[in-house]
Symmetry: C2
Subunit: 377 residues, 2 copies
C-alpha cells in the first residue's frame, strides 16, 4: 500500500466512523419524535406544526453557517428527517374529532384510495365499515346508522353507486372522492336530503400520510353539519381547499384531462416516429430525463383510469381541439421563419405566468438536483 | 404551563440538542471530505468513486435496519451529504490530463456555459484564454499556439464563428458546445484540417460541477488526438456518450425541440383559455404542480434561446405537424366515444416503453415526495 493509499484509507475510516455516529444519532432522534407523537396523539394535537418546523430549521441554519457548512445542506437533511418523523408520529394514532359518529362507511374501501381512509378513520377510533361490489345485497345493514358515507369508487361507477344511496339516515353526511365534482354532487343532492360535500383528494394512493396534502371540498348542503369531517382531515395533516364544483371541474380539465391526453399523445408520437427509447434515455440531460419520466410514468398505470378521466366530459374535446389548433398556428410562425412573432407570444405568456415563472424555475432546479442524485450509475 | 406542555417542551429540547450535535457531526464530516479532496487532487484521482459510494451506503443501510430506523432515510441523507462533499472536493482542483497542452481557448468564455469550462480548465492547471465578440481584431494572438479551441457561443452564431477559424495550428483540437451537431461538425471539418469533435454538454449552466453529468461526443476527425480532452471531462466527473451527429440531432428534435415547443404551446393555451393561474396552482396535487413547474420554468428564461433551438431546423416543423395531427386523430376516438381504440393505443405505447415505464413511475414517486418536501406552507 502506497503512502497515499494509506492516508486515503485513514480518512475513509474516519468518514465511516462519523457516518456510524450519524446513524446512532438519527436512531436517537427517531426515539424522541416517536415519544412526541405519542404525547400529541394522547391530547389530540396536530402532528404537523409548521411554526415549530420553521423555528427549528432557522436555528440550525444559523448554527451551520457559524460552523462553516452549507445552511441549505442542513435544511435539506432536517426536512428529510421531519418527513420520517411524521411517519413515526402517524403510527401513534390520531385524535377523533367526532366521537359521537357511530359509523363511517367507505364504499370502495378496498380500493387504493379507500384503503388509505379506512386506515386513517380506524386509527382515529371511528368504527369503519366497507361496502364493496359483492356487499350490495347486504347494504341495508352496512349503511344503517351511518354518520358518514364516502363514495370512493372508480369514476365510471360513481353515478350508479350514488343512485343506490336513497335510504341513508337523514343526518348522515354523504361525500365522494371522484376527480370530477359537478355530476357526482348533483346526484348526491338528488338522492339524499342531509349534509352533502364533494371531495377531491389531490394526491395518489401511495402517499404515506396526509401531511401537507390538499383535499378540495365542494359544498353541497349543510356545511355546519359536515364541518367536523373536514376538521378530521386537518387533524391528519391535510389542507382543505374550498371551491365551487364548476371551478374545480374547469381547472381539472386543464391540468388533468388536457395534460394527460397530451402526454399520452406525445408517447404515441415517440413510438410512431420510431424513436429508440433506450438511446433517448441515455442521451437525456436531467431536465429531459424528467420530461421523459413524466411521460413514461403514465404508461405504467391503468389505461382504464386515464380513459375514464379523459372521456368523462365532451366539453373537454372542444377545449383540446383548441389546443391542437393553437399548436398548429404557432407552428406557422416557425415555418414562415417569423421569430419576432414567436418571441412576442412567448413574452406575453411570460407576463401572464408572472412571478410563478421564477418560482417554478427555482423549484425545477431543486428537482433536477434530486433527479441527478437518484441516478445510481 | 400544563404538564403536557412541559413534557412536550422537554422532548423538543432533546430534539434541539440532537440537531445541534447533528450540525457538529456534519461539520466534522465536511472537514474530513475536504482533506480527501486535497489528497485526490494532489495525485489526480477522480473525485467521484461510485464503488466506494455504493459500499458506504450499503454499510449504513445495514446499520440503520439494525437500529430500527429506515434504511432509505439514511441513504437519502448520505446521498445529500455526498453531493455536498463533491462540491467541497471540487474546490481542491483537478488533475491535468495533458500538461503538454499550451493553451485552451474558449470562444464565448464569458457566457454561462463557457464560464463553467474556463473555471474547470483553469483549476486543472491549463493556461486558458477567452475570445469574446470584441476580441476578434486580436484573434490571431489569442488563437496562436492553441492546443484546444472550443466554440461556446449561442446557436445562431455558431456557424459564423466557426467559419472564421481557418488559421488554427494543425494539431489543435477544434470542438463546439452547440445543442445541434450536424451543421457545426460539417463546418468545423471544412475549416480545419486537424482533430475535430462535436460536443453537447447535457446540462444547464447552473450545475455546481460535472459529477454524474453527461457530455455527448460526436466524432469529427482523429479521435486519438482528442481522446485526452474527453478524459479530462471524465476527471471532472462527466460521463461521455459517443453517438453520431445525425442520431444526436434526431434524438434532440424529439426531446428538446418538440417538448419545448409543445410546452410553450401549452402555456399559450392556458393563457388564451383565461385560466386563473394562482387558483390552478392552489388546486394542484403534487403531480400537477410538477407538470406546471415544467411549463412555467420555461417562461422564466430567455425567449431567444428557445426560439433559436426551435427555429434551428425546418425538418422539425414537419415532425411537429405530425404530432399535432396525431393529437387530433386520437381526439377523434374521444369524440366518437371509442374507449376501446383509445385503450388499445395506450397499451401499445406501454409495451413500447417497456421496463422504462415502471422505472419512470418509481422515479416520479421519489420526485413527488421531494416536491412535497419543498412546499413551505
Amino acid at each position: 500500500m502506497s503512502e497515499i493509499d494509506f492516508e486515503l484509507k485513514e480518512l475513509r475510516d474516519e468518514i465511516d466512523e462519523i457516518d456510524s455516529q450519524l446513524v446512532s444519532l438519527l436512531a436517537q432522534r427517531r426515539g424522541v419524535t416517536t415519544k412526541v407523537g405519542e404525547l400529541k396523539s394522547k391530547v389530540g394535537m396536530p402532528i404537523y406544526a409548521p411554526q415549530r418546523e420553521a423555528i427549528l430549521i432557522s436555528k440550525r441554519r444559523k448554527q451551520a453557517m457559524e460552523a462553516g457548512i452549507s445552511a441549505d445542506l442542513i435544511e435539506d437533511v432536517l426536512r428529510r428527517l421531519m418527513r420520517d418523523s411524521y411517519v413515526s408520529q402517524d403510527e401513534s394514532g390520531y385524535r377523533c374529532v367526532n366521537p359521537e359518529c357511530e359509523k363511517v362507511v367507505i364504499i370502495g374501501g378496498k380500493g387504493q384510495l379507500g384503503k388509505l381512509f379506512v386506515d386513517l378513520f380506524t386509527r382515529s377510533g371511528y368504527p369503519v365499515e366497507i361496502l364493496e361490489q359483492e356487499d350490495w345485497p347486504n347494504s341495508d345493514t352496512i349503511l344503517s346508522g351511518a354518520g358518514v358515507v364516502i363514495v370512493a369508487v372508480p369514476i365510471r361507477l360513481t353515478t350508479k353507486v350514488i343512485q343506490k344511496l336513497n335510504h341513508l339516515p337523514e343526518s348522515c353526511i354523504l361525500a365522494d372522492f371522484t376527480s370530477v365534482k359537478e355530476t357526482p354532487l348533483y346526484e348526491m343532492l338528488k338522492v339524499h336530503v342531509g349534509p352533502v360535500v364533494g371531495l377531491h383528494p389531490m394526491f395518489g394512493p401511495d402517499v404515506t400520510g396526509l401531511i401537507k396534502q390538499t383535499i378540495i371540498a365542494c359544498d353541497g348542503r349543510m356545511p355546519k353539519e359536515y364541518l367536523w369531517l373536514l376538521e378530521q382531515f386537518q387533524v391528519w395533516g391535510a389542507k382543505i381547499y374550498p371551491v365551487s364544483a364548476q371551478e374545480h371541474d374547469q381547472a381539472m380539465s386543464m391540468v388533468q384531462v388536457m395534460r394527460h391526453f397530451s402526454t399520452i399523445a406525445y408517447g404515441y408520437h415517440l413510438m410512431t416516429e420510431g424513436v429508440d427509447i433506450s438511446k433517448l434515455v441515455e442521451m437525456s440531460s436531467p431536465i429531459y430525463r424528467l420530461e421523459l419520466i413524466m411521460v413514461g410514468r403514465l404508461f405504467a398505470q391503468d389505461p382504464i383510469l386515464y380513459s375514464d378521466i379523459i372521456f368523462s366530459n365532451l366539453d373537454n374535446v372542444a377545449m383540446m381541439k383548441r389546443f391542437a389548433y393553437r399548436f398548429l398556428e404557432l407552428l406557422e410562425d416557425v415555418e414562415s421563419r417569423d421569430k419576432d412573432a414567436f418571441v412576442a407570444m412567448f413574452s406575453q405568456v411570460s407576463d401572464w405566468f408572472g412571478e410563478y415563472a421564477g418560482v417554478f424555475l427555482q423549484e425545477s432546479k431543486a428537482m433536477l438536483v434530486k433527479a441527478n442524485e437518484l441516478k445510481k450509475d
